[in-house]
């Protein structure tokens, strides 16, 4: 037998999906109906408007990629405005 099943985890859970399921079950409503409320709360737990943080994360990966292709980040993406 191949190691195909090792590709998956037995007990993996998306935090967001768990919240959606819980609300749908508790309120006896559809997943779609649950998503609207749950997502609007969930996004409050995510750093969305932190531009400095976003830029750092993006630049870090760009540097990694540029190294992989032996170029400077600005040669690939140009200078940031």
């Amino acid at each position: 037998m191949s190691d195909y099943n090792e590709h998956y985890e037995e007990d993996f859970k998306f935090p967001l999906w768990e919240l959606i399921k819980k609300r749908a079950d508790t309120k006896d409503i559809s997943y779609v109906a649950a998503i609207e409320k749950v997502v609007s709360e969930y996004i409050k737990t995510i750093r969305y408007r932190d531009e400095k943080f976003e830029k750092e994360c993006i630049q870090k990966r760009r540097k990694e990629f540029a190294k992989l292709v032996n170029k400077k980040p600005e040669d690939i993406w140009g200078s940031e405005k």
């Binding site: 007990d11 993996f12 935090p15 999906w17 779609v32 997502v39 969930y42 976003e54």
Partner: protein, 561 residues
């Protein structure tokens, strides 16, 4: 013949919109707001049909943030000559109008009830697209129900579960259409002063993404299973010109039935994914490999390739989850049910083949979305360059606005009853066939021909053989199609459309005797300089499929700003 006897229902309207997706609904709303009588027919249920039926996580506003529309158009000829693309933008006027109205479209959508802003009341562009199209992140899981409500509130007449059969014409202009209710079998004649085709493009002449278990056998990652080219085929049979019909697209086709929301896997809100060969070597590919890149990997024995977002920090992992909840939440459920954790597992991509027509292909329209047949317009994926939700919605709103003038000047025209009778006979014929061909049998045969004889790497011999085989299918099996009920009748009509468009597709592939962009000819492996700046067109004229190549339309608008 009496028209009342031929039709179960006769409707009269100013504007008939065919297709209730991201282009059709805004067009219908806008035309209705302008005081026109509007009828929209939708093959499925408007509240959840079309590409946006599963929700949408992005609205890609803007052209390129390093080039204004004015600069873009000033460089129009150079861009088209130098680029490897087969011109997404056949008409620079339309292109310019779309790009300069995208911000307007945000306001218009908000006004009709579509949420554009986040909880804090602000729009939210995603970061990190230095030289790409900026995306506006939107929570649009319910964008289609919202648009359906907007139409209902404005008293647009919506005929759900109704499929267009063919268009009715007189003296080179459209005067209406025939349609069928796919539940009741009711045969409907709709008299209209103008018609807007908004049925998307075509995906079903190629096999779906993955050979999946039966209940997912229609799984297409990028297009809904409803995309059988109905609007294209009806318009083509009515005499419109099609453009770039050799251009099929590839995409990230993820196995294990794990779908994604469009905005997350490659974009990841600005963080590049990592791409690995099967043996774990990271590949120097930015975004998605193009066909030739993938073919090289395949030749070297390095595929399948794997997309990874394991490196994304926690906040971005959560953002990806939210993207999936906004667009295709079923993918969250399916991934969890399978134990697929994107923080530690990789998405496998092992295909390199066409699977749908996309941006450059479609009905040829001018800067005002008018086709070559008077009174017939096309928007969204149905027309060249109207692609993506932003151009679909923006184009729909523009046409809904522009069409008033045409309708006011349009003369009342009689419908040709013989034309109605002929269309009815063709459409209903499968109901009377016993022991014939199932529509899915024929559809699979067409897919096989397109997969095997067209594919990505094309050559004259294969294309000719594919065309010959399609001809045989048409001659032998179309008359044998059988339908046990109106639903199956819809399938028969779909397969007729798929077959007609597959023929146009192969004709277009044969016509392009060069390799350009992703249109790859093994027997003509280089670009033909004589075809720079030219597009190819197909048209049904005097019972024949006619092709030609000609130059891009010049800009026909005063550039402001």
């Amino acid at each position: 013949m009496n028209l009342n006897k031929a039709a179960d229902k006769i409707l009269e309207t100013d504007v008939l919109v065919v297709g209730g997706g991201m282009a059709g609904c805004p067009a219908a709303v806008k035309a209705r707001e302008d005081g026109l009588k509007v009828t929209l027919i939708e093959k499925a249920n408007t509240a959840r049909s079309g590409s946006a039926g599963v929700g949408m996580d992005h609205y890609p506003v803007g052209l390129m943030d390093y080039m204004s529309p004015r600069e873009f158009l000033a460089n129009w000829d150079n861009i088209k000559r130098e680029t490897d693309l087969v011109t997404d933008w056949a008409d620079p006027t339309r292109c310019y109008r779309l790009y300069t109205h995208q911000l307007w479209s945000i306001n218009e959508l908000e006004r009709i009830g579509v949420p554009m802003r986040w909880n804090d009341g602000e729009l939210r562009p995603t970061p990190g697209h230095g030289t790409g199209t900026p995306l506006l992140r939107v929570h649009w899981l319910n964008v289609k129900p919202t648009l359906a409500t907007a139409m209902r509130n404005r008293k647009v007449e919506v005929l759900e579960r109704t499929m267009v059969i063919d268009l009715l014409t007189k003296n080179g202009a459209v005067v209406g259409a025939t349609a069928i209710n796919t539940r009741t079998g009711e045969f409907i004649v709709i008299k209209a002063k103008a018609i807007i085709i908004a049925t998307g493009s075509l995906g079903r002449c190629y096999s779906p993404s993955t050979p999946t278990p039966w209940k997912y056998k229609f799984l297409y990652h990028y297009c809904p299973a409803s995309m059988s080219g109905d609007g294209w085929a009806a318009a083509f049979r009515a005499g419109v010109e099609m453009v770039n019909m050799d251009y099929t697209d590839i995409g990230i086709l993820i196995s294990d039935e794990l779908s994604i929301s469009f905005g997350n896997l490659v974009m990841n809100e600005g963080i590049l994914p990592k791409i690995f060969s099967w043996d774990g070597q990271e590949l120097p590919i930015k975004g998605m490999p193009r066909p030739l890149e993938y073919a090289e990997l395949e030749k070297a024995g390095r595929d399948p390739i794997y997309y990874s977002i394991e490196h994304l920090p926690d906040d971005f992992q959560k953002r990806v989850e939210v993207c999936m909840a906004d667009e295709r939440p079923v993918s969250l459920k399916m991934a969890q049910d399978r134990g697929f954790n994107p923080r530690s597992h990789r998405y496998v991509n092992m295909t390199n083949r066409p699977f749908l027509f996309r941006t450059p292909a479609g009905i040829n329209t001018d800067g005002y979305f008018k086709s070559t047949v008077t009174g017939l317009y096309a928007i969204g994926d149905a027309t060249n360059g109207g692609h993506s939700c932003v151009n679909a919605a923006c184009g729909g709103l523009l046409v809904g606005n522009d069409i008033v003038d045409f309708v006011k000047k349009a003369e009342d025209t009689e419908i040709d009853k013989a034309q109605v009778e002929a269309q009815k006979e063709i459409a209903l014929a499968p109901l009377y066939v016993k022991d014939g061909t199932e529509p899915m049998e024929l559809e699979c045969a067409i897919r096989y021909i397109c997969d095997r004889y067209v594919g990505l790497f094309r050559s004259e011999g294969k294309l000719r053989e594919g065309m010959r085989r399609l001809g045989t299918l048409k001659r032998v099996f179309i008359p044998k199609l059988m339908a046990k009920n109106p639903h199956y009748l819809m399938r028969c009509l779909e397969v007729r459309n798929i077959l007609d468009m597959a023929e146009v597709h192969i004709e277009a592939c044969m016509e392009r005797k060069e390799t350009r962009g992703d249109c790859l000819r093994l027997d003509y492996p280089v670009k033909a300089p004589s075809l720079d700046g030219k597009l190819q067109f197909q048209k049904f004229e005097n019972g024949k499929l006619v092709s030609c190549m000609r130059k891009l339309t010049p800009l026909n608008i005063e550039i402001g700003g």
